[in-house]
Symmetry: C2
Subunit: 344 residues, 2 copies
């Protein structure tokens, strides 16, 4: 933090206003002074102080991203989509994690406040009552993968319900009746939607007593592994397991393998998210591809449109991105001896 605009002005023998004008080319300045300034700035390695600048501008050129975790394939792809879109539009990125905790969430909000021009928030665990108590910020916010109804925010989600419904139907059509379901974190809205899709499909097939088939999980391999072991102890053993996400499903595969149970011959397994690594499990995992990368880029574009005032009096967005059923060998016995799912 050394060389300032004054130094450049002095070196070029002009006023600081002129330097500012040249560097932002905001006005016409005579060619000779222009060159003088440019050279002085270069020689001194002058780099404007963004703090001073944004104090006037009231804009930082940054976007804030608040999400539960930063690692894991799901969040990582999401960030990739965000990063790409942000970079293309010359915004820098500030990133914070909540770990699904209220207090970390609030702390992150506070930290982002006024350091960025807008926020993208993914907080699936955010309930209606929490939402009401969100500290109000001055920046526009786009919520993703979050159920926020009562506030005038843009919201972009996946069609979790539809995906889970289609996936459950797929299992039913394969002839499965006793389909166990490993749920996601109890307070995560996306997980709840998936469970809702499962229940609906089951109910439509006339299978009512579904609660006994549901097991609590936590979107992690560990929880999937543990739940699978409990499922294996049920007396009429379920012939299929639908996990709320791919990580849980991988834990299930691992537990079944340890127990010497063949997939999908003895038990079919399905996940949710369509992670790339699902292609490489044994057997490759049936899942529902959610366009998580696209979610990131769409959110950025929407946010930037808001920032540019293009959407000044547009109604808040409610968008559910479509999902896609990925049928692989963990459910579809016929495919077991076929080739690996397409490798692109």
């Amino acid at each position: 933090m050394r060389v300032t605009i004054r130094d450049v002005a002095h070196a070029a023998n002009v006023s600081i206003s002129t330097v500012s004008r040249v560097l932002n080319d905001t006005c016409v300045v005579s060619e000779d002074k222009r060159l003088l300034v440019l050279e002085a700035a270069k020689n001194l390695n002058y780099r404007p102080n963004p703090a001073a600048r944004s104090l006037l501008n009231k804009s930082t050129g940054g976007l804030g991203v608040l999400l539960p975790f930063v690692s894991g394939e799901f969040f990582s792809e999401f960030l990739g989509g965000i990063d790409e879109a942000a970079q293309k539009n010359d915004f820098f990125l500030m990133i914070s994690t909540s770990h699904r905790h209220q207090d970390e969430f609030r702390a992150a909000m506070r930290a982002m406040d006024k350091r960025v021009d807008g926020l993208i928030i993914m907080a699936p665990e955010l309930g209606a009552e929490d939402a009401a108590s969100i500290p109000s910020l001055d920046e526009p916010v786009v919520f993703v993968n979050t159920n926020i109804d009562q506030r005038p925010f843009d919201v972009i989600n996946f069609d979790n319900f539809g995906g889970a419904h289609a996936l459950t139907r797929h299992l039913l059509e394969l002839g499965h009746h006793r389909i166990a379901h490993i749920k996601g974190p109890a307070d995560a809205r996306d997980a709840q939607e998936r469970t809702r899709g499962y229940r609906m499909a089951m109910a439509e097939s006339g299978i009512e007593d579904v609660v006994a088939l549901e097991f609590q999980g936590g979107f992690t391999q560990e929880s999937g592994h543990a739940a699978a072991n409990r499922i294996l102890q049920m007396d009429p053993r379920p012939s299929a397991i639908m996990a709320a996400n791919d990580y849980s499903a991988m834990g299930v595969l691992s537990a079944l393998h340890e127990a010497g149970i063949s997939v999908p011959k003895d038990v079919a397994v399905a996940g949710f998210d369509g992670l790339a690594s699902g292609q490489f499990t044994v057997p490759p995992l049936t899942s529902v591809r959610v366009p998580v990368r696209e979610l990131g880029s769409t959110a950025v574009m929407r946010l930037i449109d808001r920032l540019h005032g293009k959407l000044a009096d547009t109604a808040p967005l409610r968008l559910d991105l479509p999902v896609e059923l990925l049928i692989r060998e963990s459910t579809s016995a016929k495919a077991v001896h076929g080739r690996t799912p397409a490798f692109e």
Copy 2:
């Protein structure tokens, strides 16, 4: 950007100095005024402007992270380690990607400049000549997974050479002689080190003509897949393939599977990085675990120590984090019918 410290001062009927003192509790102020200020600030929902603050302080409370990509298991875990350590120390995080491009790298450097107190840079493709031309910043920098010699920066790397050497020896000890090697990006220093380890181990075994066994890859599944197909056309076919990272190795597995070649019976396969998803490939992938999460947290801690001036006149750090050989079924035939690698 509405309510300022003036408004609070006015509401509490004190001077702005007093408000500042209360909010930062930097001096003693009488209890009655203190309460008045606190209440006014709360009522008005006052949140200090970080730009104004850092203009005085010359500190932002942020760390910048510059890395090739933000998605993918490797970078994702790295970010996880960084995030955890940064959050614990109350630093926010600014993140940029270079995509291995010089110009994006420079743009990111410029964007970070003065917006953060220090930088963590991962730029494996940065050569000696590039390093010399790094735009000089005022903030301290810790380089990770980057070969920078001639500058007084802290540098933390993995023992890529040692890991590759050990992995190659493992294959040699299994009786393989014709071990093909799929290299990483030509300009990536970490990839070069891995190739060096491979060559050294081969040479030590008296295998000299190693160049014919080397194939160019790019750290991606696609490149591994393509290279494997070329390897399969060699006349005395190699009995083992050592890829420069796990993603390439997964591409290899995929190509071998398509060609109906059994792993490890016909061809043994090994990767590098020890990604979690390597547990789930068919068969599970032998690899070298690099402590990438730890790399992130170590870098943060080192950087924060520098910021606090604790290392004022300490010599720049040169640290190679130890790596660990992970032997799984893709190389070790005996394990093929054993159980899945430990699931924790």
